[in-house]
Structure formats: structure tokens, C-alpha cells
Symmetry: C2
Subunit: 171 residues, 2 copies
Amino acid sequence: MPIPENHDPFKRSISHVLEIIGEGWSLLIIREAFFGVHRFEEFQSQLGIARNILTARLKKLCETQILERVPIKEGAKRHEYMLTSKGKELMPVLIALTQWGDRWIFGENAEPVIFMDREHNEPIAKIKVRSARGGDLRPREIMVVPGPGSTPESKKRIEEMHRRLESGVDA
Amino acid sequence: MPIPENHDPFKRSISHVLEIIGEGWSLLIIREAFFGVHRFEEFQSQLGIARNILTARLKKLCETQILERVPIKEGAKRHEYMLTSKGKELMPVLIALTQWGDRWIFGENAEPVIFMDREHNEPIAKIKVRSARGGDLRPREIMVVPGPGSTPESKKRIEEMHRRLESGVDA
DNA sequence: AGATAAAAGTTTTATTATAAAACTAAATGT
DNA sequence: ACATTTAGTTTTATAATAAAACTTTTATCT
């Protein structure tokens, strides 16, 4: 569990996200939710996750507002777990992971599942990193600069990074 | 650690990916590699990771061909860890995660770092799920169908999912 | 209405992974 | 050649996860 004790915002930018959704099962639970699974027992049987762990994960995902406990119907005490907008916006992450796996683990013609554009009934596009103008960006065409949430410390870190990348025929 | 004992390809499609890069530190190591960190000591000091864990993660990332051990120079026995193409193609995942965190954890005007289009010197676009035609897709405009790597079992699972999604005012 | 079962968790115990720190061997710079 | 990095091991302590049995509340059936 990655919790760097220094609170450098530079590091927080991904590691803090991973604290929330990086724990083994979390993304799988979120994926099941996308696929219409909402109840404790269903998550459990679909994933084969230990029930105490499922309890802990659902709790955390609710606390972080990725899932929401809603009563199963008007005034019921039993409830189900629904994705919030915050949770739904993890779709690109999930699809990017899946597409990477399709390409590099299963192979282009052995995808277990295909994501389809429902309206046009054809596969969705590959997720890509694009410039504001819309063109594809390759890793070396991307660089990183301090944002409004940066600190002197993180600025130093980024400068160091630039020096590193300039010096080698790198990345 | 998510290793569902049933080998349903439907489940494997993300969980198998997570077995490779889902372990706490892995993505952080990969991110450091993108930022020009390549040596054991540097990974260790940047991340504050325990050295035995770093050893294990680097080993696994090499075994899975995300990183590659290359001699530091011609014929040297000491080496460094470089991203392979397979590793580099995780960029969209990393950026999607970061952008999600910027939006939902740090807030739109408090991003620790900004990814820039180097050539045009402006922030990159937000990563989105798009149709083959290029338009944005919202979660409910996406559906899932069995791919060439599916099995009867996974097909059943997907049908079940469709039933579920049709029946409720869902997701 | 009452019995039966299912749903949604707890609790307990065992196993496994992670962290921290000290240690070691090889490779490099001076 | 010698001191210092570098890149790891090893050991021990701590924390997370898994499996299984147990509890309690809510549905379902007759």
C-alpha cells in the first residue's frame, strides 16, 4: 500500500489516487458495478472475494464517494451500491487498462470482451493521449510542468526530471 | 491480490492486467520510469519503497516485459531499467488516472502537475472514451459483447449482464 | 402468520505480503 | 589500490488478506 510519508504533491498526484482505487479488488468491484452488479452477494459471488475484504472495500469506496449506498426501494433498510458520477468517470481508466491487456496480454484477436458503441453497433475507438488540437501524442511528445497545486519541492523534482530526460537518448 | 481461481476470460480481461500492474507500487515505479528514473537507488529514494519490495517489483515488471534490464553502458555488468514498448503504452492509463485525480481529488485548479504537449506548449486534452467516429461516449452509450477470446461461460455472463442493465433504470 | 431460506454482513483464525533496518558483494571513481 | 556507491539480500516485525464459520435482519412460500 503506497503511502509515501512525504507529502510532495508531485508524488501525491498518482499515489493518492492509488490509495483510493489501487487496492487489488477496488477496480474489479468498480468494473462489476459498471456491468450492473450492485448487491453485496453478487459482488462476492462474481469476484470470489473474501466477504470481510468486500465489506472493507465497499466501505472505503463509499467513503471516497465512488460508490453510494442507496436503499433497495423506498424506505427499505437493505441497500445496494451504485456508482456516483465520480465513480462513473473511472470508465476511461478501466477501458484503457482493458485495451492495454487486449493488446499485450491476450493479443489483438483474442480479446475476451469488446466494448461497443451501442448506437452505431461497432467497437469503440482505442483510447489515446491527444493534444488539445486532437492529434495523437507519443510519450516523448509529452512533458510535465508544475501545476497550481505544486510546491517548491515538487518544482525542484520536475526540474530534476527535465535535466534527466534532456541528458539521455531516453524514454 | 486478485487472482480469481476460475479462469473465465471475462474476468481475466481486467484482473489479469491487475495481477501484473495492480500491485501497489507497480504503477508508481512505471511512472518514475516515464519521468526518467531508471536505477535501483533512484527508484528507492524517490518512492521511499522498501528495497526488498522494489527488488520483487522490478523483477516482476521485467518478467512481464514492461521494463527491460539494459547494461548501463557497453559490456557493463551493472544495469538500469528501461520501459519497453509494452510499458510505454501504459501512458494512457497513467494519464487517465492522473486526470481523474485532478478532477475528483485535487480539484480543477489545484493539479500538482500538468501534462503538456511539448510541441505546442499547451496542456494535453482530457482522455475520453470515443466512438470509432470520434464522438464522446458516456457510460450508458457503451456496451460489452463477447470477443474472439470468449468462452461459453463468459458469453453467459455477458447475457446476464445485459438482462440486468435492461431491467433497471440503471448505471 | 409462521417457517424457511437468503442477504448482508461480523468474527475468528491462519496465511501471506509488506515494511524497516541491517548486512553483503560487486563495480566504479579517484 | 582503496573508499564509496550501487544494487541488491536477509532477517525480523508488522499489517493485510483469505477462508470459513457465525449472526442478524429481511424476503419468500405455503
